[in-house]
Symmetry: C2
Subunit: 314 residues, 2 copies
């Protein structure tokens, strides 16, 4: 019988961390979860999992290294991130350190400890930045042109990953993950924010939005965690994989769909506070590479995801 794999998950209390824990609960693994705070939700569910939680700020390099040394994971899934673009415009330095620097601490700790470990480095479709619409859908060969603090932080993380792979021989697996959808996401993000407003609104209320003309590619978080597992199992270190639905959706259509599903009569109003200094007009990805190399493709359709988000809230 193969030895039980030890998996370290950073940002385990977050949206993706939660779903990864659920995904792993049927596997023969031991998990050490790290985050700044433990969320109640995750204490209950995963009884079958060999699971331990430790509270940790990943900017504290010494404590991070000590904790990695004591656990010696076979796999590190690094989900800790300040992953909200709008927030990154308000606190660019905080967003940067809580993406790039926490990742650097992590890979540097593993490098210094000199042990064999696979690391998942999650990137973002935001890294592509401003692109001509005629080159859509985006493939991994497209050049990066990040235009927000968050996007720069993720592009920096990816560049660092390649140096650690090529220069130090480490096993870092890279993705560019597109917009997520799924129940449980923070209402700081677009879809949950719209759902929250719509559900709390009275008849004929205004719904405050940002720029609704932009187009994004939403992929269900449950498909995402499955992709991460496949990349770690069979992907190539240092090679980037898009994780996306391949379909672009105009944000206005999503808001109108949410309003329609609520059965309410509501007005959509643009809120200047929700307009960002700079934004990518359209982001649509191609998942050809991960499909061709690893056989992954999205299984949960957007309408189902949206229905699940609304069901959770009703």
């Amino acid at each position: 019988m193969p030895e039980r794999k030890k998996i370290l998950i950073t940002g385990v209390s977050g949206f993706v961390g939660t779903y990864m824990l659920k995904f792993l609960s049927c596997k023969n693994v031991a998990v050490l979860g790290m985050d700044k705070e433990r969320k109640k939700l995750f204490d209950d569910g995963n009884h079958k999992l060999n699971y331990e939680f430790r509270s940790l700020d990943l900017l504290d390099f010494t404590r991070l290294k000590d904790n990695i040394r004591s656990f010696m994971p076979d796999i590190i899934m690094h989900f800790a991130s300040l992953s909200n673009v709008a927030e990154s415009w308000k606190r660019p330095d905080y967003a940067y350190t809580n993406n790039t620097n926490i990742f650097l601490n992590l890979v540097e700790a593993v490098r210094q400890l000199e042990f064999d470990c696979k690391i998942l480095s999650v990137g973002s479709s935001e890294e592509y930045g401003k692109v001509e619409e005629n080159i859509l859908p985006l493939t991994e060969q497209n050049h990066l042109n990040p235009i927000s603090p968050y996007a720069v932080a993720r592009a920096s993380q990816e560049m660092l990953s390649k140096v650690y792979v090529d220069g130090y021989g480490m096993k870092i697996y890279l993705t560019r993950s597109f917009n997520h959808i799924g129940p449980g996401q923070s209402s700081k993000f677009f879809i949950p924010s719209m759902v929250k407003q719509v559900l709390e609104a009275n008849e004929n209320d205004n719904i405050q939005t940002g720029d609704l003309s932009i187009i994004r590619d939403f992929v269900d978080v449950r498909d995402v965690v499955r992709a991460y597992w496949m990349v770690l199992e069979s992907g190539r270190p240092g090679s980037v994989y898009n994780i996306c639905s391949g379909e672009g959706r105009v944000l206005r259509d999503i808001v109108l769909k949410i309003i329609e599903l609520s059965g309410k009569q509501l007005n959509v109003v643009k809120d200047p506070n929700r307009i960002r200094p700079a934004d990518n007009q359209a982001i649509i990805g191609s998942y050809d590479k991960i499909f061709n190399e690893l056989g992954w493709e999205p299984k949960i359709h957007f309408d189902q995801s949206l229905q699940d988000v609304l069901s959770e809230r009703f």
Copy 2:
């Protein structure tokens, strides 16, 4: 009479900072120099300059912001950097924070203080990284492919600069500066290291080198500081300017030239400790852009620079 311009120089005790102080000594400016340590050298020379020095670690955001608030510079010349590629391989996290994070602290402090200030962000030819030799010389349009921790840190700094320019409207002036040559450079760098070894060697000694087949473009530091002044005076914020000689030199030829100038008989020996995990084979730049837009071109020929370096040491 125009008001005297206030200039903040970070890394003022370093190689480039010293030369910039000399360059500014004939101008009607007030300079606040910052560095971790004051170097004796700079206390003596620049008597005509209205000059003040403050010891500061740029990673200390609060103190940095306080110091900027009290001085309110018109121009910030940011030279503080751990700019040695070989060292960055040994201490990647330290190299990263002492490039990207100190820069981020600086621009974020200026953003938060909301005042009008030009900032010079010095980048590196190393950002270009691995390139096909048939695309040489490198122009600012070439894509970045950084392959060392130092190069990634500089590329990150450049991406951050563009976000601060485009997203927050700040006036950040960008360069990609190629390898420097000039008297006073630390012997951690290639040419001073070779010169030091050659001068200290006895007849028939071995000179330890890294990979001498690689090609670099060396530009004299006195030409460099003149270029920085022109970029700050007349360049375009957010636009990158190569600062280079336009000529590639094989490192082996430089070593042989130094040995020849010393008049000694010496053996050149490859030292495995001086080989880096990954290196760019050839870096040669084009200065067409800065020449066409600002009229800058290098004035000091490599042979003159090398002679000056040797004269200082003899």
